[in-house]
């Protein structure tokens, strides 16, 4: 089926299969490998993307469900040359180790900050609790979100 969506500000049209997962569409067909897959069953959060501004798990989303949506992946938030404030904050605060959970973590944090620009630390803890990290112990991730430069 043909689907149309806007991804990272660009209108896109794709022919997808009915059973195609959004995470595969992004990674394999659009080359957006910043979105990671850590479990494939909605437990780790590494595949989070923004759908109309809200964090959604692309491993549990069918490509067909993207039709008509406005999507932002980690690549759409910023790049090393022009990073998003959260991306810069993650790097500066030591919130990145292996980095495989980081894109999903940043996406979840972006969702939170859009709704609550000045969250308490415990609110951040709650908001990121669906994103697993095996390297950090989360302290510096919470720091990065808490101390992010506000626009």
């Amino acid at each position: 089926m043909i689907i149309r969506f806007c991804i990272n500000g660009r209108d896109t049209e794709l022919d997808v299969r009915g059973d195609e997962r959004a995470v595969d569409t992004l990674r394999e067909r659009l080359g957006l490998t910043g979105t990671k897959e850590g479990c494939g069953t909605g437990e780790c959060g590494a595949c989070a993307i923004l759908v109309n501004g809200r964090a959604r798990l692309s491993c549990l989303t069918l490509a067909a469900q993207l039709d008509g949506q406005d999507l932002t992946t980690i690549e759409g938030l910023g790049s090393p040359k022009t990073p998003h404030a959260l991306q810069r904050s993650f790097a500066e605060h030591g919130a990145v180790q292996c980095g495989f959970c980081t894109p999903g973590m940043v996406v979840a944090a972006a969702d939170l900050l859009a709704r609550d620009p000045h969250p308490e630390r415990e609110t951040i803890r709650e908001a990121l609790s669906g994103n697993l990290c095996r390297c950090t112990g989360y302290t510096r991730i919470l720091d990065a979100v808490h101390k992010v430069e506000k626009p």
């Binding site: 897959e37 690549e75 990145v96 180790q97 292996c98 980095g99 980081t102 919470l142």
Partner: protein, 765 residues
Amino acid sequence: MSHEPYDIGPARPRLDALAKACGTELFSADSYPPGLLWAGARRCGVPHGILRGVDAAEARALPGVHAVLTREDVPGSNRQGIVHKDMPVLCGTRVRHCGDPVALVVAESRDVLRKALALIHVDIEPRQTLADMDAALAPDAPLIHEPHGSNILLAAEIHKGNAEEALAQCDVVLEETYFTPAQAHAFLETENGLARLDEDGILHLTVSTQAPFRDRFEIGHALGIEPWKIRVHSPFLGGGFGGKDGATVQCLLGLAALRLPGRTIKMWWDREESFLAGYKRHAARMHYRLGAMNDGTLRSLVCHLWYDTGAYAHLGGEIMELGMEHAAGPYRVNHMDCRGLCVYTNNPVAGAFRGFGVAQASLAFEGMMDRLADRLGRDRLDLRRQNALRRGDRNCAGVTLTSSVGLDECLRRVQGHELWTTRHAWKKDAPPFTRRGVGVAAVFNGMGYGRGLADNAIAKIELTPDGRFVIYSGVPDMGQGNASTFAQIAGEMLCQDAGRLEVIQPDTERSHPSGSASAGRTTYTFGQALIKACEMMTTKLVRRAALALMIDEPGGFTLVPGAVRHLPTGKELPLTVMGAMLPRDDRVCVAEYLMPVSRDVLDTGKDFPLGFPHLIFPFAAHLVRVEVDELTGLVRVCDYLAATDGGRVLNPQNFHQQIEGAVAQGLGFALMEGFGTENARITTPDLSTYLIPTSLDLPDTQSVAVETLEHSGPFGMKGVGEVGMNGPLPAVASALSDALGAHITRAPVTPAMILELLASRGAQA
């Protein structure tokens, strides 16, 4: 700011962090070259049996299937393993655990692959399942590896003094048995890689691996090809923790690539396959008898350790060795008799995991210290300080500690910390139906390979034609940050800013063999080699600059960001000019370093061909405050403090990252993570049944560095990748015994266990 040297000492953001945060760093899993094929293994699903046949006809007939391979298709020895070559690439006659692969499918797409795998019919005659070590050690138990002649992979002893005799003379003798579970590494990026056989006969692999140079030999041996015809590249890993040290996808990928020359083959285990077929921490049982004098002096330890290595050896013997070498803890104990058995079972394969055998023994020796303190009416921390190893002491294996020993200072930091000094008031303030406890633990972890296996690294650095420095790393970065630290070492030595430093991830074609990313050795060994290479580079650049500037003596030169400067004349030669001026051979420096080993000649540990003993130890003292809900049995970790002696800290940010991460993994080990099996079949196949800590489960860990000076290490450091893992379980056990008045002997400590303890001791508030 941009010209500030990327030097040693300050907390500097890692060079890899921003690209990772932007999703532009390419992990091995992120590669999808055009025309790639997908490979997958058919897992046998039976814990123990005779493989009678594999019927792949239907799978082969499925459109889109390029190959279905079985044992007969494996050209070489078909055997993998780091020390013992006992693990088949594809099983031919026997299966030894549920994750054993019996066929390899290569298909057009993942969909076809999934369908084809389901169409392979396997005929297995089940044999008695040896689901635990007792079953495997029974006299009539079938042999899991018949050529080995026993289900005991390794039986070993470490002796010091006369332990039984000394025990008889002790004022106090305590006895206890401890159990620790299998644990999954649960890295976010599961095992994966790509392979392609090129026209020139070179087999190219890109793998999420901790040991690319060893992989070449493993693949060559298993598949019957020359190791030098294999090229392995390891990009940044999405986590490793030991679980990617050894064969995972490598030989299967190589086999597929050999069958389909010119095609790129990708294999990526899903989470369930990773849990089923990936390595685990060894489940262990530890029986301890500890003797001490009334004044608190430890005297003698007699202990037996059993480690369940599962179906294959991996590094089981070496892992048990490290546990045994640490069996009496970081204390002066004059007499020890430690016996270990590493046992084959039909459980998932156990292998290397951060804390390498010591994370298990830490529960036992620290549990005994708490018991002893309680028996003698002593403060738990004081008793540890009284017995803490100091430099010049012999440890329990008999090795003289000639290197840095900061344990007592770690304990002192904990003792002076307000989390400790306010503990009584804090406990008293427990809300209704809640109990509070404060626990401590002292731990250590031998660094490096130990004697018998050269812990060597070879560093290469190149000045590029455009005046930058490229470091060719020989040891993978699985997230611990060594790549960036290598840049920092070069930045310090050559006085260059981050923009002029680049680290190339290990590639057997471009970098030099430097061992595995493991054993807390990565920065230590490669770092020392890199320092030497940088010294050579400095000498070289100064001499060439002297020539170019027509200055007849090389004194008075120094490197500054972007240039070589002659101080007496003020003349400068930009690195861009030097890079353009010199031929490639003259722009490269290579140097190597060999980690020192203990010179003590010990009349023990002779069962270990390699890895015994160790010379250099990071130490740590941990404190935890926990709250127990009397109604639900839930344990909340309220505060955590880790004081770590890792020698001098090269970058505080990286240092604390390692400690905080290890503590998180250790708290999982203590309270949540029991890798489940029932009759050797896994019962925790995903992250909703195998729970690892989330942001809600962990406190903000406070990490404190005790900066001793490790004279042998680069800038005085020693590796801290492992030691932080060993503290949380014994510290939590200590805190729970403080809260509940009952000693913890088994991990993970579940709410059900807490409720049982409360019930058996009367739940009076």
